[in-house]
Symmetry: C2
Subunit: 280 residues, 2 copies
């Protein structure tokens, strides 16, 4: 397996780099970005935070806009930002921003025409970490975070695979996709109309039944245009109450759905993950 380096930028004493590689899981060429803190240049194997972006994003949005490198460099944590869907001319798509390319929803599609490429759940859970841990000076100590659709992905990955992640956090996650328009549209297309298949990708349904508690932090802006119709943090809170999950969910007056919100609180998320990543 070969990977190709596409760009390199020194940042806060470490390195931001983009790579492309052929994904066997997704049956297409994929791009990802990595931030390697200065400690990784000194022979240390650093732990890794996986960042899952929201609708329409690529590997670039978080790296350029979140202002995360400063604290990642200070703490000695690598960050991986995968793309949000399979890519390429041969990959099925829709004109809509919330289905197809840029909208993989971190599920394994079972329906035509999506099932050949849209397997972002397996890609982020297995193939990408295996590649990262083979090729870069990182350990197998992982946490996961994300925004909106990516917050949904982060919560689902951690809740279903508590042995794989030290901690999970999310900004403005799609908390109960089986009950919101984005989730219903995407899950109908990717997973079909049997809604019993959807539950495995719904953070609230998973959280209300689990007994394995990965430390979890969620932040939500109260001026977020998508709050009531799409995000539904109250469903996640109800699920946590039901299972006794020690969820920390904070609401912030005036903040919206943008990267300005993420930037304002990313350092708190990195510090949260550091508590679990750096003790392992």
């Amino acid at each position: 397996m070969t990977i190709e380096n596409l760009s390199s930028n020194k940042s806060f004493g470490g390195w931001h780099k983009q790579y492309s590689h052929y994904s066997e899981t997704l049956n297409c060429s994929m791009r990802f970005a990595i931030y390697l803190p200065p400690q990784a240049s000194n022979g240390e194997k650093v732990p890794v935070l996986y960042w899952l972006s929201g609708l329409t994003c690529t590997d670039e949005n978080f790296m350029q806009k979140a202002g995360a490198h400063r604290m990642a460099a200070e703490l000695g944590i690598a960050i991986i930002a995968p793309d949000t869907s399979p890519r390429g001319d041969e990959v099925a798509d829709e004109d809509a921003y919330d289905l197809g390319k840029g909208a993989g929803f971190y599920v394994n599609a079972t329906q035509e025409p999506w099932s050949r490429h849209y397997r972002m759940y397996d890609y982020v859970l297995n193939e990408l970490p295996a590649l990262i841990e083979e090729r870069f000076p990182v350990s197998d100590v992982r946490s996961v975070s994300g925004h909106s659709m990516g917050g949904h992905g982060a919560l689902v990955l951690a809740l279903r695979n508590p042995e794989r992640y030290q901690s999970v956090s999310a900004f403005s996650p799609v908390s109960n996709p089986v009950n919101c328009p984005w989730g219903k549209k995407a899950f109908s297309a990717y997973l079909g109309n049997d809604t019993s298949e959807w539950a495995q990708y719904d953070a609230s349904l998973l959280m209300q039944e689990t007994s394995k508690f990965v430390p979890a932090l969620v932040d939500q802006g109260e001026a977020d245009n998508f709050l009531e119709e799409q995000l539904k943090p109250e469903a996640l809170e109800a699920a946590a109450r039901q299972s006794g999950y020690p969820l920390e969910l904070n609401r912030h007056e005036g903040y919206d759905h943008s990267y300005y919100f993420i930037a304002s609180f990313i350092e708190q998320h990195l510090s949260f993950h550091a508590r679990y990543l750096l003790q392992s």
Copy 2:
């Protein structure tokens, strides 16, 4: 004069906002961005850092990518990011990225077809601050900074108007435009072939003759692809030696021309400006 609010995002307890207004100087409608720190919501008049962006940029690049809001909020400094040229269908343009829209070079054009709209020097020096100081909770205490073409603009504005700015800084500035391809192309078009007209917009020529010293900080990446052909920091250093200008110019191994370099050192620039902005 009316200004229209186009967007608002809460950021680090303050507000990032975009506005449009009709510019009498540029004879077209212009957009700018402002970051107002939390202190500005408490009735304080905060000082202002003007940020001038580089080729191809708009008011958005710095606000989204520099990670400047965190320290601006901590220090209580507002930031204004104007666009990099006049805009609109009626404004002269070229296909090239380094002439016309996105490439105003912070000069007052005297040549056709540019002279009707391309007057970014006057716009940034006079019209924009007058508007900002009338409409927002800011003082008339100003500093100026910028990147590449905008670093050139910042240095020229401060060197020619030491009474208007408390301090100046630049990342990777076009330090000696009369002697580099970007500058020669733009100045020929905007100012004509009489090179004696160019000197008023050349930071090195201005610095070597001035006796009024605005505190000045310049940072330059050594892996910058434009370093030797376009930026020429050695010309600025030679000018400073000639006039005894107390220029602080730092070179940084491995850093390139990107916003990752700016983000890595923007907090040092904000702290530098704060020394002069907050004592006034």
